[in-house]
């Protein structure tokens, strides 16, 4: 983040800590898309995600005095947001059995030759603007919701939102080692899920072509 933007943000946070709602709303504008997307990818339901996003900003404003200047505001905000989303998930999925699709955290991989035969090169697919079809997006979303919560958050923050390991560690209040482990396991699980439902993948998208 640029130095100037960081300073601006510190000022906005300071004013928010003195009760300036307008200053806080500037922060809301800055981070609402990221916050909404994280919660949406965690829970899958747009209306629900909107409600929880609003709750998250309300909670953040109420707790703003506990934010320590100098640390990442985004990480702090996303911590509140992801905690609320996790709380909701646990409340509404108490009876949900962990997927028995034989997905494990271990290194379960599809057989090499089978995947090779599935993979197709698609010259028309421009990797620069590889737009996923909505079906594929939904498949990936469903796959994300199959992940255990801790892996889900880690993968969403890292691969969907592009946060650094350090910021993810701050958001989830864990160590870098834990972040690394959760991201790896989440990715592996998602890979297994996509492979398992590969018949749903559009032919041209079955394993995007690797470009070196």
């Amino acid at each position: 983040m640029a130095e100037q933007a960081r300073e601006d943000e510190a000022l906005l946070v300071a004013r928010s800590q003195h009760g300036d709602v307008n200053a806080f709303n500037s922060l809301v504008l800055r981070y609402q898309q990221t916050t909404y997307n994280v919660i949406l990818r965690m829970l899958g339901d747009p209306d629900l995600a909107a409600d929880i996003t609003q709750d998250a900003f309300l909670a953040a404003f109420r707790a703003i005095s506990s934010f320590h200047q100098g640390s990442s505001f985004r990480a702090w905000l996303l911590r509140i947001a992801s905690n609320l989303a996790c709380d909701h998930w646990r409340r509404t999925n108490r009876h949900r059995v962990e997927s028995l699709d034989l997905l494990t955290d271990e290194d379960e991989q599809p057989p090499a030759n089978l995947l090779t035969s599935l993979a197709e090169t698609n010259p028309e697919l421009n990797p620069e603007e590889s737009l996923l079809t909505s079906e594929l997006q939904q498949l990936i979303s469903r796959g994300l919701q199959e992940l255990p919560l801790d892996q889900r958050i880690a993968v969403i923050l890292c691969d969907v939102q592009g946060l650094s390991y350090e910021e993810i560690a701050s958001t989830t209040e864990t160590s870098l080692g834990t972040v690394r482990s959760r991201i790896a396991r989440g990715r592996a699980r998602l890979r297994s899920y996509l492979y398992k439902h590969r018949e749903l993948l559009p032919r041209s998208y079955r394993l995007l072509t690797d470009r070196e």
Binding site: S16, Q17, H18, G19, D20, V21, N22, F24, N25, V28, L29, Q32, Q33, T35, Y36, N37, L40, R41, P46, A50, T53, Q54, F57, L58, F61, R62, A63, I64, S65, S66, D107, Q109, P111, A112, L115, S130, L131, L132, L136, Q137, I140, S141, V155, D159, V160, G162, Y165, L176, R180, S181, I183, A184, R185, R187, A188, R191, L194, L207, L208, D210
Partner: protein, 222 residues
């Protein structure tokens, strides 16, 4: 399919490798291995594809604005259940912040003063064999404090407040033993000069309670 042995890279290692989370040494070692191991190359590519799919997920536009209404009813700090705070504006918010800081400081001062008074009472009572009801033991049970607190209420010769044990010891020798235990709880808060031990215990208890309360508030807002 080749058995995974120690030499092959685990998913976690590959994942960290892709994210450049390894030490330079590890990075170099893994890089060297990848050049010669088709299995790991394949695994790596597979993992990259999964990550690429995730990265290709679009950012969804917000369905509406999540800005907060600019009303004074919003409370920027403090929990909702434990504290019923009045609506705040800027100046009140700052005042409350200062108040909270002072509260903690005052609690500490109260506790320290409490200990000082107790010591003063303790030392002054020593030559007299502890005639006062709350002197001999340095422990401060709260009921003892209440008992001696009641004795403070009895009107007696005014003694100058002193935080120095030595200075207080001399006038304390004239302190009459508490005779009538008039219970005047509301008067306890008014600092009467006699009964240093009572005041001491009271201040200490208040100070400790204040600090506990203060700390709990801070935790609540976290």
């Amino acid at each position: 399919m080749a058995q995974q042995n120690d030499e092959h890279l685990t998913t976690e290692q590959l994942s960290a490798f892709l994210d450049k989370q390894l030490s330079p040494q590890e990075q170099a070692v893994f890089d060297a291995h990848l050049r010669t191991c088709p299995q790991c190359q394949y695994n790596l590519a597979d993992l990259q594809r999964t990550i690429a799919l995730l990265r290709a997920l679009p950012q969804v536009a917000v369905p509406r604005s999540f800005m907060l209404p600019a009303q004074p009813a919003l409370v920027p700090a403090g929990s909702d259940s434990q504290s019923r705070r009045v609506p705040l504006d800027n100046s009140q918010r700052v005042k409350r912040h200062i108040f909270r800081r002072s509260f903690g400081a005052l609690s500490t001062i109260a506790a320290v003063l409490g200990i000082v008074f107790l010591l003063a009472g303790f030392f002054s009572a020593l030559p007299h064999g502890g005639t006062s009801s709350a002197t001999s033991s340095p422990t401060y049970p709260s009921n003892q404090g209440a008992t001696s607190g009641k004795t403070i209420g009895t009107p007696g010769p005014l003694e100058p407040h002193s935080t120095q044990p030595n200075g207080a010891a001399t006038p304390a020798s004239h302190a009459p033993p508490p005779s009538t235990g008039q219970s005047l709880p509301p008067v306890l808060n008014i600092s009467t000069p006699e009964g240093k031990d009572g005041i001491g215990i009271l201040l200490l208890v208040l100070g400790i309670l204040g600090l506990i309360f203060f700390r709990r508030r801070r935790e609540d807002t976290t």
